[in-house]
């Protein structure tokens, strides 16, 4: 009903293949960007940043990464936690080894290293598919966590095996450590998310994305049109791991500040990100955002309502939380197997047709 599409026509393929071909969507996107970059940094506080926005932004990056692999390329992965850990530990090693280098570079390099590791663990995907691949990535998850626990070099031989993010900056603005201000950490992550989303969108709408989707939908047919399955799958693993690695680095360095690999990057993280992708919608960038928002914010909202508003005991709320989140996930899977993104699409379609029903 808000859509006004009359006169919104395309005279070139460039216009037709842009991310938001509909004017209204495009404006809405600009507004969201303007608010995210221009308004939120000025009103943000520690609570918003650390409890809501940072986890949302970082999980969104991870979800985009996983979505590329699972949603676009159809390669099931349960190793997200492990790959995030690679990003985190790579970032930690870089931060401590090269203290004077910009944090920005560290995070990017951490992503790069993770991409490399991702490719290594993606190699089996050539021979194995589906459930078996899931098991293989699960093995990667356990192996990586074990590795980071086991080899003291990774945690600089600290007594507890924990890694702690020292204070680092980008162009003189502190983005890690306790003295980083909320707006700085927020913007730092937001930039990574924005760029990740744009890159993911560019890749998925172009040749690379189509080869991924071709492999996902029918690998035989993909081969017959000339897709080299090895290349397609490994690029998906690389790009996916790159994003996941960045998310891991940010998760450790900017959000938590200290990480214990088994707890933070355990199998439950893999599942959490996978849930985000599934609930958000496989094969949808927007879905990655929606899924991350849903799973990050829902518990907080439930807690706010349960504990702060209704004054219920924390444990009851915590249990209720689990029940409600679980129920919602199940409900979603039943009612809308294509996730929030599909709901969004249908809603959008309805609004575009408004007031008509079809």
């Amino acid at each position: 009903m808000f859509y006004r599409e009359a006169g919104d026509f395309k005279t070139s393929y460039r216009d037709d293949s842009q991310t938001f071909p509909i004017k209204f969507d495009r404006y809405r996107y600009y507004v969201v960007l303007a608010v995210a970059f221009g308004i939120i940094p000025f009103i943000i506080n520690d609570y918003w940043a650390n409890a809501l926005l940072l986890p949302f932004l970082i999980y969104a990056i991870a979800a985009i990464g996983l979505n590329i692999l699972v949603g676009y390329c159809g390669q099931v992965s349960l190793g997200t936690g492990g790959f995030m850990a690679v990003g985190a530990y790579a970032c930690y090693k870089l931060m401590t080894a090269f203290p004077d280098v910009s944090m920005f570079i560290h995070v990017l390099l951490a992503g790069g290293i993770t991409a490399f590791v991702g490719v290594l663990f993606g190699l089996p995907s050539l021979r194995i598919k589906g459930f078996y691949l899931a098991v293989a990535t699960l093995a990667a998850q356990f192996f990586l966590v074990w590795l980071f626990n086991r080899v003291p070099w990774f945690y600089n031989y600290s007594a507890s095996g924990q890694i702690n993010a020292p204070e680092r900056d980008v162009f003189g603005i502190i983005v890690t450590g306790p003295n980083a201000s909320a707006w700085a950490t927020y913007l730092f992550c937001l930039i990574f998310l924005t760029v990740s989303a744009i890159i993911a969108r560019n890749l998925t709408r172009g040749t690379t994305g189509r080869t991924w989707m071709a492999i996902r939908d029918m690998d035989i047919a993909a081969e017959i049109i000339g897709v080299n399955p090895l290349k397609a799958k490994l690029t998906a693993f690389a790009v996916s791991s790159f994003f996941v690695g960045i998310a891991g680095a940010l998760f450790f360095a900017v959000y938590l500040g200290a990480v214990e690999v088994g707890e933070v990057f355990g199998i439950q993280k893999s599942f959490l990100v996978l849930f985000m992708v599934i609930i958000g919608g496989l094969g949808s960038i927007f879905g990655s955002f929606a899924g991350a928002a849903f799973l990050v914010l829902l518990p907080v909202v439930l807690k706010l309502i349960g504990v702060d508003l209704l004054g219920w005991p924390t444990d009851i709320v915590a249990h209720l939380n689990l029940v409600i989140v679980g129920a919602l996930i199940i409900m979603f899977l039943i009612l809308e197997p294509h996730g929030l993104a599909q709901l969004w699409r249908v809603a959008k379609e309805k609004l575009r047709l408004w007031p008509f029903p079809h």
Binding site: R4, E5, L353
Partner: protein, 657 residues
């Protein structure tokens, strides 16, 4: 009068206007066509180049001055260009209805003696080839769509693209000749020849001069303040004067952009995409659209339906007033604004009228309900009254004086007079030159002073000066008892019901009136679904007792309202049938502009008319149908004849006398 002028702003012809546009605002869009998934776009400068290439190609083919070049195809830039290119080389473009069957087309081609034909696609080429077997006059066929054309003998046939390429390649040889021919065009040279698809008799070729077209375009454009920023969607038959004047006359005069849809099927989608600012459509388009709106809304949820009807009721109350600039209370304005957000805005947008600035409906009477519906949404839809012979414009409705029951005031430079018999006559710079090769008809239509008889009966309303049309003068007759028989009046009343698509009323010289009715398949089909009436085909639905019952109720209601009119109370429908087929232009029952050919129908279905008058309860009939390729088929059915309640009129008569 403008008879002595040498051309508006010094331009004598469409090629000259094209040159003006290409030099003054060459980068502005001139044509768009939806093809290959996007709107392909040509600026005025590019257009000028393309048209020149076609013209050069024509010269290469050997087109002589005064030759007729027929153009048969859907609305495409290349076809419009061909027409202008034809003018450039001094030839006369003759656009034809692309859905004509070969037989019809043969008459026109023979009558104008076209030596060259620009065809849209294989279908048209096939028809021309078939005609050529008997005609042997066509020297060369050009076609725009190459699909399927590969295997044809190309000795007398070419793709338009190819002759453009050839023309461009040989431009050195023809440039001078072309420029000479362009320069030689005068203001009173023939601009175009359009065949009227008369409801009676054979088509007549109306010759329109550059003066007719440019003056009419200029006057009408100024009347509605059209600018070169307008976008129009060209989807009406190219052979119709309306399309010519809007898509070529006004477009060249104003320099606005002509958008061509991808195909007839995608018209509605394309309409929405383009969102024209200036729009022209016969009432049928609006009727169909409104029917669709109502049908789709009926499928909506309860909440949406209630909201829709609530706000539409409000729009009915104040929408028209707001559009006319009348004063409306603040609360009503606010509510209208809310309605605009929730209903009118999105509705206009989905229909494609989001950018609608001004638009016209013409060609037939539009139902007041329908007309008001669009206006209440804030769509500035107006009526005009016109003819091919007048280069469209006779009367138009000025902003703020828009009413459903009149057709407005005389257009600029148009003079009107009503003769004693009530027939409307006019004189204007748009008055046609002649009927081609038909001096008798020319003389009987246009008198020496330039007054043209319209063939319609009407009167000028006291006070407002607006023209009101009663009916086609020729159709008005007398009943056996001497009372007036005005079929259009009754037919229109019936057609305003969404269920009824077409009506033909009979009764001239008889003691009572009977009618043929076509149901609207979309509307009635939807009603059937809602009411769990099963049907498989049009014929079955048309004969369904419940449908007949519904139609009977409509007829009854119309009878009541007709009875209230003293003059016409004799025109009540006593009996009717719902026809087993839709009246169709292919079968000759309608003109290509979808006007009923009363005489033809009367003759063709004489058995049914006889049954209507002889009191039988049903009639079995077999009807011939014609396919586009000329082959005949037939359908047979048994039709039930329905008696409709009539209001006794005796008292009225007594009272009247």
């Amino acid at each position: 009068m403008a008879q002595t002028q040498s051309g508006a702003e010094g331009v004598h012809s469409l090629p000259a206007l094209l040159h003006r546009n290409a030099t003054q605002f060459g980068d502005a869009p001139a044509y768009r066509e939806k093809e290959f998934g996007i709107w392909q776009c040509w600026s005025w400068a590019e257009t000028a180049k393309e048209i020149r290439a076609i013209a050069l190609g024509f010269l290469e083919l050997g087109v002589e001055k005064g030759d007729h070049i027929a153009v048969i195809g859907r609305n495409r830039p290349a076809h419009y260009w061909s027409m202008v290119a034809a003018q450039m080389v001094g030839a006369v473009p003759v656009p034809l209805y692309q859905d004509s069957v070969a037989e019809e087309m043969a008459y026109v081609l023979e009558h104008c003696g076209a030596k060259y034909v620009v065809c849209g696609d294989q279908e048209q080429v096939d028809k021309v080839i078939e005609i050529q077997e008997n005609l042997h006059q066509v020297k060369h066929i050009l076609y725009t769509d190459k699909r399927g054309m590969r295997k044809y003998d190309h000795s007398q046939m070419n793709a338009l693209d190819d002759i453009m390429a050839e023309g461009s390649a040989g431009h050195a040889r023809f440039d001078a000749e072309l420029d000479k021919r362009i320069a030689a065009i005068t203001y009173d040279d023939t601009c175009v020849m359009l065949y009227t698809s008369g409801t009676t008799g054979k088509p007549k070729g109306v010759v329109l001069s550059n003066r007719n077209v440019i003056e009419s375009a200029k006057n009408s454009a100024e009347f509605d303040h059209l600018t070169r920023n307008e976008d129009i969607l060209s989807y009406l038959p190219m052979a119709w004067v309306g399309d010519f004047i809007f898509s070529i006359g006004q477009a060249y005069w104003c320099g606005f952009c002509v958008n061509c849809p991808e195909s007839a099927d995608t018209m509605m989608t394309d309409l929405r995409e383009i969102g024209p600012t200036y729009f022209f459509a016969p009432p049928r388009v609006f009727e169909t659209q409104l029917t669709n709106v109502m049908i789709r809304m009926e499928d909506a949820g309860k909440f949406k339906q209630r909201m829709f009807h609530h706000f539409m009721a409000h729009a009915k109350k104040v929408g028209g007033l707001l559009l006319d600039g009348k004063s409306v209370g603040f609360a009503d304005r606010m509510k209208y604004a809310l309605g605009n957000l929730m209903v009118y805005g999105p509705l206009k947008d989905t229909l494609g009228y989001g950018r609608f600035r001004v638009g016209y409906t013409a060609g037939e009477a539009i139902g007041p309900e329908i007309f008001d519906f669009y206006r209440s949404l804030g769509i500035n839809l107006k009526q005009l009254y016109g003819q091919t012979e007048a280069t469209v414009f006779i009367t138009v409705q000025p902003d703020g004086e828009v009413r459903a029951d009149t057709v407005g005031v005389p257009a600029p430079d148009v003079e009107l007079k009503i003769d004693d018999s009530g027939e409307i006559h006019y004189r204007s710079p748009g008055v046609f030159v002649e009927y081609y090769n038909n001096p008798d008809s020319t003389a009987s239509t246009k008198d020496a002073e330039g007054w043209v008889a319209t063939g319609d009966a009407g009167f000028i309303e006291e006070g407002s000066g607006h023209l009101r049309i009663i009916d086609r003068a020729k159709d008005v007759g007398k009943m056996a008892d001497g009372s007036m028989f005005a079929p259009k009046y009754v037919e229109n009343k019936l057609k305003f019901y969404p269920d009824i698509l077409e009506v033909v009323l009979f009764g001239n010289g008889k003691d009572r009136c009977v009618a043929f009715i076509n149901i609207d398949l979309t509307a009635v089909g939807n009603w059937a679904e809602r009411n769990n009436v099963a049907y498989a085909s049009y014929q079955e639905l048309a004969g369904h007792p419940r449908v007949l019952e519904t139609i009977r109720a409509h007829v009854e209601a119309v009878n009541k309202s007709v009875a209230a009119d003293e003059m016409l109370s004799g025109c009540q429908v006593h009996r009717f049938v719902v026809l087993h087929k839709e009246l169709d232009a292919d079968d000759g029952e309608m003109t290509r502009t979808r006007k009923v050919r009363r005489g033809f129908v009367e003759e063709k279905f004489s058995d049914i008319i006889a049954a209507l008058y002889d009191g039988s309860g049903s009639v079995s009939t077999t009807t011939e149908v014609t396919y586009e390729d000329g082959r005949k088929g037939s359908i047979s059915a048994t039709l039930e004849i329905v008696d409709a309640p009539v209001v006794p009129v005796a008292q009225h008569k007594v009272a009247a006398e």
